[in-house]
Symmetry: C2
Subunit: 232 residues, 2 copies
């Protein structure tokens, strides 16, 4: 790899939440020398939670190394955490990366790969406690840094996360130029973006919907944590 | 179309800025009954500005009607505005839609289709004045509504825009539930998201970069505006 290039790999899987990585991809593609790719266990086409189909996805096994490894989350996260090929490739690539990163429930995948033991990490607010079985320390924040591991909170936190990575890699002027070019001066129409500020009935509505997948996710995480335990 | 379905068409083209529509797609996919698709002049695969490849894109000509038409922007915008098939399909579909919408420089495409004459519209801050030759009134705002036309500002404004559309279509509780599920409580690391707040050297850096495409875009817009004039 040329020293002027900066390679960024987004590790994707079926049922990924696309905004977890499309936000960061848009931001980080504007870093000088950035070379970005999507990669998964099988390559080819990966379909997101909301039905977007991403073509020409690479195979993780075909990527030798990278500067930034970024793992998004989404409804497919715990299935991905149980895909042993995927997890082995995440562990291997993380070993080559300057920065090991995630957005949303992607931190559960880093955790399942054994990369967050004793580390602070962000996660989507509703799933944060699932980091604990892997020995990670869940932190309620938009962007969390612990050593070379940078994790973002739920979905839209990926944009704040990516601007932080841009600042780290290329300095504040470049990061601010990216922010200005993307007109990132957010004005959410409500103050409902976190469980502390959302109206009670809104939070109840979201929690009712998430309840449907909670039991499976807890079971998946217990299994992934047991596998990690055996391995180490 | 079943009355319980709500169809949303994102009109895409080569060189689109993907976050202009991936943000809204993520938000609007969570509306009850939402059926979303990407569609372009030729269908098949469309590559975004930053190299993401979106597969199984439909042909605009194959779509009879929709509830929401949403046109994103990006470096490919003025080429799309000069693609007469694309513009004719935008004009036709807009005639079937309850809401005609855009994000970023996508409003230049609505304008080129003759849909913004005498209307207020948002656009990316750096390109806003290009609305004028089409008889539209550029407005400096994150989300602008004029009748059934809802336009968003630059790139990341698409998320604020989409939550406004969600509120309009499904009410404030549903919109806030989507905001909470996407953890949209933004914390930009800098106050550099608009030309008024960005440091002077940051603004100068971005304007220097944009200068490279300004002349071509102005020429393209003049041609598209002349064509619109002839047509009407």
């Amino acid at each position: 790899m040329s020293t002027s290039e900066f390679s960024i790999v987004f590790a994707v899987f079926p049922g990924v939440t696309q905004l977890d990585f499309t936000g960061p991809h848009q931001v980080l593609s504007r870093l000088p020398g950035a070379r970005l790719c999507l990669a998964g266990t099988c390559g080819d086409t990966v379909e997101s939670e909301d039905g977007l189909r991403f073509a020409k996805v690479m195979k993780l096994a075909d990527i030798e190394c990278c500067d930034v490894l970024c793992v998004p989350g989404g409804p497919g996260t715990t299935d991905a955490a149980l895909d042993q090929v995927f997890i082995a490739e995440i562990r291997r690539l993380a070993g080559t990366a300057r920065y090991v990163t995630s957005v949303c429930t992607g931190s559960l995948i880093l955790a399942a790969a054994g990369l967050l033991r004793g580390r602070d990490a962000a996660c989507h607010w509703a799933w944060r406690e699932l980091l604990t079985p892997f020995g990670a320390r869940p932190v309620s924040a938009r962007v969390v840094r612990d050593g070379n591991i940078i994790t973002g909170g739920g979905v839209t936190a990926g944009i704040d996360f990516a601007l932080s990575v841009a600042q780290e890699v290329a300095g504040p002027t470049v990061a601010q130029a990216i922010q200005l070019a993307l007109e990132y001066a957010p004005e959410p129409p409500f103050n409902a973006g976190g469980p502390e500020t959302a109206p009670a009935e809104v939070r109840a509505l979201v929690e009712r919907r998430l309840a449907a997948s909670r039991e499976k996710r807890q079971r998946d995480v217990a299994l992934a944590a047991a596998r990690l335990e055996e391995k180490t």
